[in-house]
């Protein structure tokens, strides 16, 4: 085994190893400590786990390509809430009253369009002004959230359409609708990042922007497309989730950006850009949801989950750095 292979293997496979450890731990600990006598590795439980990780997971896939590109998006939580409001409210608009259940695709389209427009706005500002994406999206996080609150004050926006609820609760081949959307988003984004010119250029820009510019890659449009994709995915996440629940509070989606970034970083994507993998992000999302469910299963309080996830995030960062330093002789400063 040549040197470096171990660290590469550890880095690539780490998140899946971590998931296996979690599964083993919670299965064994669950036997001893759980209040219910249902096994943790129950099929229904696992299916539910996929479904519950969908809202964060769909956004996390988008955040991965933003971070590969060397940017960050803090406004996804607010985009999520605004798209949800557009979805639920547009179904009650008088102009669509004659459509019957055909209002559903129209409402979906409007909500997704909202996400794309908000994302495009972020991307356009980053492109044309040259302000760091962190600041741009920090500002639009406040701004989009302001729009959410201006829409309906502090009241929840509610509308239940039973056809839509049936669709959202359906199971096809055993998997829930939300799970299919998560898998679909992951597959499509994986294809974009690994099999298209746009994906290759996005990696190149994140890895070395100057070199990418010299190679004739137009940095701006690629960044803007990525922001539109994450806006679309944030809206998709909202559409999938609120089709079922039918009611959105103006605070919904707050701190989502932080959960999403946590999942992406656990999956091994670098904040500095240029490296990262969609599949590993998927692993990171599953790992976090598994941790939440598992800790709940063995009777730990919800507050412990925050504590544990925070510490794991820092530990991952530390381990990752140790592995990287061994790989290359870094200038010690």
């Amino acid at each position: 085994m040549s040197s470096g292979m171990l660290s590469t293997f550890l880095k690539r496979g780490a998140i899946w190893g971590f998931i296996l450890v979690e599964l083993a731990f919670f299965s064994i600990a669950g036997e001893q400590m759980s209040l219910s006598d249902k096994a943790f590795m129950d099929l229904d439980n696992m299916l539910l786990l996929f479904k519950q990780s969908a809202p964060i997971g769909i956004i996390a896939v988008g955040m991965t390509i933003i971070m590969i590109n060397g940017n960050i998006d803090l406004s996804v939580g607010a985009t999520f809430a605004l798209a949800a409001i557009v979805l639920l409210d547009s179904m009650t608009w008088p102009i669509f009253s004659g459509l019957g259940d055909w209002v559903i695709p129209v409402a979906w389209l409007l909500a997704l369009l909202t996400g794309v427009i908000l994302g495009a706005l972020n991307g356009f500002i980053v492109w044309k002004t040259g302000i760091d994406a962190f600041i741009v999206t920090l500002g639009s996080m406040l701004g989009f959230r302001g729009l959410v609150f201006m829409y309906n004050g502090e009241n929840p926006t509610s509308h239940l359409n039973w056809t839509l609820v049936d669709f959202a609760e359906a199971q096809w081949l055993g998997l829930h609708t939300a799970t299919w959307f998560l898998l679909g988003a992951t597959a499509i984004i994986w294809y974009i990042m690994n099999r298209t010119v746009h994906g290759r250029n996005a990696y190149a820009i994140g890895n070395n922007r100057e070199a990418a510019v010299n190679a004739g890659i137009r940095v701006g449009p690629h960044m803007m497309i990525n922001f539109m994709i994450i806006g679309f995915l944030a809206a998709l996440s909202a559409v999938v989730f609120y089709s079922e629940s039918g009611s959105v509070n103006p605070n919904d989606g707050e701190l989502y950006e932080l959960w999403v970034i946590t999942a992406v970083v656990l999956g091994g994507t670098k904040l500095t850009g240029g490296s990262g993998s969609i599949i590993s992000t998927f692993g990171g999302v599953i790992a976090i949801q598994l941790l939440r469910k598992g800790l709940g299963h063995i009777g730990a309080d919800t507050e412990t989950v925050n504590l544990v996830i925070g510490m794991i995030l820092i530990a991952v960062l530390f381990l990752d750095r140790q592995l990287n330093i061994k790989g290359k002789e870094e200038l010690r400063v």
Binding site: L74, I125, W127, K128, T129, G130, I131, D132, F134, I135, V136, L138, G139, S140, M141, L142, G143, F144, R145, G146, L147, F149, M150, G153, V213, R218, V219, G220, M223, E254, L255, L258, I261, T262, V265, L271, D301, T302, E303, T304, V305, N306, L307, V308, I309, G310, M311, I312, L313, I314, L317, F318, R321, L331, V333
Partner: protein, 324 residues
Amino acid sequence: MPQITKASIGRFVARQGILIAFVLFMVGFTFANQRFLAPENVMGVIRSSAILGVMALGVTFVVISGNLDLSVGSMMSFSTIVVLDLHDKLGPTLAIPAMFAMTLCLGAIIGFLVGYLKLNSLIVTLGMLSAIHGLTLTYSGGKNMDIVDKEGTWFSVFGQGDALGVPVPILMFLGLAALLGIVLAKTPFGRKIYAVGGNGVAATFSGIRRPRVILSCYLISAFCVATAGLLQASRSLGSQNTVGQGLELEVLAAVILGGASLLGGSGTIFKTVIGVLILGFIQNGLLLVGLQFYAQYVVTWVIIILAVWLDIAAKRGKLLSPIA
């Protein structure tokens, strides 16, 4: 005497853009509503900005040293809950120093991770945001914290009292701002912070112990957070576990509005105070003009983007970015 040319005026506008915007806002709001500049209104605005402001002072240090602190919001919840809980168990005289010590410990942990272990501050403080939130919930058991005897305690003096006719929160905010402003601008320690943030490698080669400077910045930030927690606890004498949630980004917005660069090495306490006041006065002014409360967020968004854009456009000498 320097010549006044078109270019120098442009530079002046760009450099002092935020101050000019502040003055324009004040003038505009004053014309729109007579009550805007009334002393009690001005006092009210500064007073309600004090908690955010105190936290922003500490974050300014961290940002100038080239790092971020996203954990200040949940750390503030922590110190508020702790001081309220200890108030009934130990009495206020012991509770306050105990709370400061515990908050400083959290700051030291972050400072150690970022300074000595050289981990990315964004992710470390993101992790700490989550971890400290969990710690607070574990500490309180998820319940709201309340002081039992709200009438018979002198503890309320920090948040509700007056001294020399000025509310105590304002005095503490401006006093701390003056103190930290002097530390940052007039001491060797302050210069080291700028050096570390401006060019960490060069600072190391000039013999500055970078890890120690970064640790100190996080300790200052934690101290400011503890002060903010004290103000919050004393003002309401009871609190939820999530009282500081989301504040980290608002604080950062104020610091950025003040003109500190996220890359480190630039920013001043004075400008941060202006940033905090702008946020406070915009919120107040828009309400007085009759806009709904939440419109302030949208206006803040536009102002942040314009302020930062103006700043970097002046530095590169072109309005649009060179990104192809």
